[in-house]
Amino acid sequence: MNRNFPFTGIAGHDHVKEALLCALVCDTIHSLLIIGSPGTAKSTLVRSVEALVEGKKVITIPQNITYDRLMGTINLELAMKSGSIEFSPGILSQGNNHILYVDDINRMDEGTLQCILTTSQNGQYVLEREGLSRVIISRFTLLASMDPQEGSLSSTHMDLFDLCVRTDRTCDIQTRAEIINRVLFFEQSPDEFICAYEKETEDLKTLLIKARERFPYVTIPEGHLDLITSLCIELGVEGYRGDLALARTAKALAALNQRDEVIFDDIKRAAILTLEHRRHECQSTSQQQSNSHSRDKERESDKNDRSSENQHDTSGISNYQRETRSGENQKTETFSSSAHEMYFDIGKTFEVIRYLDEESWRATHKQKTGRRSRVISLDSSGHYRSFRFPGGKCRNDIAIAPTLRAAALHQHMRDRNGVVISVKKSDLREKVREKKVAHTILFLLDASGSMGVQRRMVAVKGAIMSLLTDAYLKRDRVGLMIFRGSHADLLLPPTRSPELAAKMLKSIPTGGTTPLVQGLTDAYLLLTRGKYALASENKTIVLLSDGRGNVACTNKSPDAEITEVARKIAGTGVKFIIVDTEVGFPRLGKARILADDLKGSYFRLENLSVQRFADSIKEMTNLMP
């Protein structure tokens, strides 16, 4: 007997239940994502579904699954011993006609995620791995859950989910009390609890069967179909997956309500389930509008800029020092200076020196492939380089030719049992694979007023552009975060498309105070929590700043706070590179101190350029006798 918490016994979460039922009614609703904080009954809901459909199991895909377990592989050890090639199916093919469940999907490796999601959409996958070649049918309903605090999924992956619901925090005291009562009752005597809900469960099962039968005959009136599509256009939904999911869900809702025609209310409810996670594209278009708006402003400010430039040149530093001293007036300063936002052009670009200390990267498994450095991979992905004796556990990644060669020497002494070559365990050699490791580089840019001094920002933008070009050539992932005024903004989450970053660079405003601590903390947390923590082990924060932070998060002095935070996060897995942008006189050298606290590498902006670096070396050698 099924011992899961019964579906009908779960209090609240009506949206989620509705979505789950829709997915059970309609086979073309392939996937459902449940977003919610920990402890909001996400997995309980998913597991309870099993009791509602005859003959379907809920199979959990573990977080750290490898390709061979996911898609199936040859049992190589058996193949070597008996000579026959056998396919041992993976979870995806075992899940055919069942329900697959992935918890914390936002922390999953991207390749695996891509594979699961496209399989759920296509109902099949092509296996071309390790001597196996076949198309495998796999139709399943994918249920996934995630905690939004652990990071988000890319919009492409979000779009592959037909439905997406949030488990809300239950604020109603009575419902919360009811939940506690039920859970306690269930824990004490599960059988009794399940029996108490037996009747409701049976009714729901009958309803589901009827709805499944009715579903193909449910029609959408012409006008309502137009409503669906115009709704999607209005919300800026990209592609037709949203429209299709909405139409299917509306039909499923009608079927569940025992109607043969979709009514307006179905569409309204279905829209909440299907479009909410797709509509953020809309915001990005409005952002673009504001970008173009800011570009207009930029032109205006360009004029202002030129007129105020001279003034800045002379009074820039004193201006800035005043700003640093005025601790109490910070708030008003922020406002007044953000009113004088400036937009600087991108300065000259140059070829970048090898600023990442590449030799020191350690080999770790599950690394993204990139081109900066090569490591020995610990899983069975990457380029087959050489072979070795398997140490301890056999990874089923056997190097065939060396194994055969090793076995060949002993053939005349062995009982071959009908096969031509008898292979013993001692002959087995496993593959050593190598792959290129990608780096995640987060550019953390100080966009405060001090960067506007002497149009410093022009040179800095030029430097970032050069670093981006370098990252582009080396297939790194890059992200861009700026801090100014009172907070830090993530302009671009780490992506493989540095082009996006380059496009944004131009419209970065300059002005305001320097919340260095805030920026540093946000950047650090981004790379150490959630999906970027797992995605790639080589993480670097390139901080471009003069190190003169002047906004504190606590009541300590900004400088003391910076030191404290820097020492805390130094040497904990993220590398820091500090590019000092300080100009003028006197130099405070705060960036240098920060670099030491962070145990990071320190460069002056000028020295990043290969040409300039070479020039400065030449200069030094020339000076020597």
Binding site: A79, V126, V135, Y240, A247
Partner: protein, 359 residues
């Protein structure tokens, strides 16, 4: 020696055993034209389809399966060497021909061979056949996806996410039309001429410039913004899901028409001699855009011819050149990363206009 058992991987890319009909796809004319032009003239070098998620990119590519023409190949050759094309034959077929023998031929349908993202290197290039090595003690080559793709369409979904080492294999094979295998004690070469078709969503990252340059045509697709048209798309898809077989019957006549269009175009394309005006136009455009390589000019001429052939004409007209220019030039413009100089379509149209004024 070559092992044959894997070469016949069944391709099923359908709902309930039926592919969504090509002719039932609403709009997306550029994407359809580019695919058809490549089928008519495989030396065009493939298509890359870029666009937002969920805009029927892969549905369209997969729908092509049902339209592909037959080709005459040497009977029994596992690489399906074309009977006409003596230059790109596998070793055993070439030997037959040079010995003056006349091998039997058969007609087989072109296929769409899909390369999954997580394919391993050994399956792409081919490797030692383990079963044979163990049971018989003989070295035998087991062909990979590149062998299957010979003479067919090689399709990579989300091609921008393909691992670099697999991309290297594709590039090597595409450049020479031959796949050289040197691994695990196997040394082998076989023809691998395929039509590369890729789809991608640029949001997820860029394609390597070398790979981008391999594609003859690049199409950018966008979602439909008109709600009436969009409703039609959704309606057809839902109807298809309800009863795929019945839906396909409705479009069978149109499908047959496209099949005939392809067959006819393949017949007349060799009749279309690239005239001086076409070649001059192509050269003038390339020079004015400052494109370095010659691939742009050549592709432009070939594509214009293919479009004329698809239209059943034996003469290339202005419309063909304009269409061809829009599909083969824009992606070759960018020479540096982040170069936003873009494609000046007005200037190109101006040049075409000046050459084709008379007609």
């Amino acid at each position: 020696m070559v092992c044959e058992k894997w070469l016949f991987r069944k391709e099923i890319m359908t709902v309930g055993g039926v592919t969504y009909p090509f002719s039932a796809i609403v709009g997306q004319q550029d994407m359809k034209d580019a695919l058809l032009a490549n089928i008519v003239c495989p030396s065009l070098g493939g298509v890359l389809i870029r666009g937002e998620k969920g805009t029927a990119k892969s549905t369209t590519v997969r729908a092509v399966v049902d339209l592909l023409p037959e080709r005459e190949v040497i009977k029994g050759c596992i690489f399906h060497c074309g009977i006409e094309d003596t230059r790109s034959m596998c070793d055993s077929c070439r030997e037959l021909i040079t010995q003056g023998k006349k091998p039997d031929s058969e007609f087989i349908r072109m296929r769409v061979v899909e390369l999954p993202l997580c394919a391993t290197e050994d399956r792409v290039a081919g490797t030692l056949d383990i079963e044979h090595a163990i049971t018989r003690g003989l070295k035998k080559f087991e062909p990979g996806v590149l062998a299957m793709a010979n003479g067919n369409i090689l399709y990579v979904d989300e091609i921008n996410l393909l691992d670099d080492h697999i991309v290297d294999l594709l590039l090597d094979a595409a450049a020479m039309g031959v796949n050289f295998v040197e691994r695990e004690g196997i040394s082998y070469a076989h023809p691998a001429r395929f039509l590369l078709v890729g789809t991608m969503n640029p949001e997820e990252g860029d394609l390597r410039p070398q790979l981008l340059d391999r594609f003859g045509l690049v199409v950018d697709v966008n979602g439909e913004k008109d709600s009436k048209v969009r409703s039609e798309i959704i309606k057809r898809r839902l109807e298809f899901e309800k009863d795929p077989a019945a839906f396909s019957v409705l479009y069978e006549r149109e499908q047959e028409a496209i099949r005939n269009q392809i067959i006819k175009a393949k017949e007349i394309i060799s009749e279309i001699k690239p005239d001086e005006r076409l070649i001059d136009t192509a050269v003038a455009i390339s020079l004015s855009l400052g494109v370095d390589g010659h691939r742009a000019d050549i592709t432009l001429v070939k594509a214009a011819r293919a479009f004329a052939a698809l239209d059943g004409r034996e003469e290339v007209c202005k419309g063909d050149v304009i269409k061809a220019a829009g599909l083969c030039l824009p992606h070759r413009m960018r020479r540096r990363p982040f170069d936003e100089s873009g494609f000046d379509s007005a200037a190109v149209h101006g040049i075409i206009e000046s050459y084709y004024q008379a007609s």
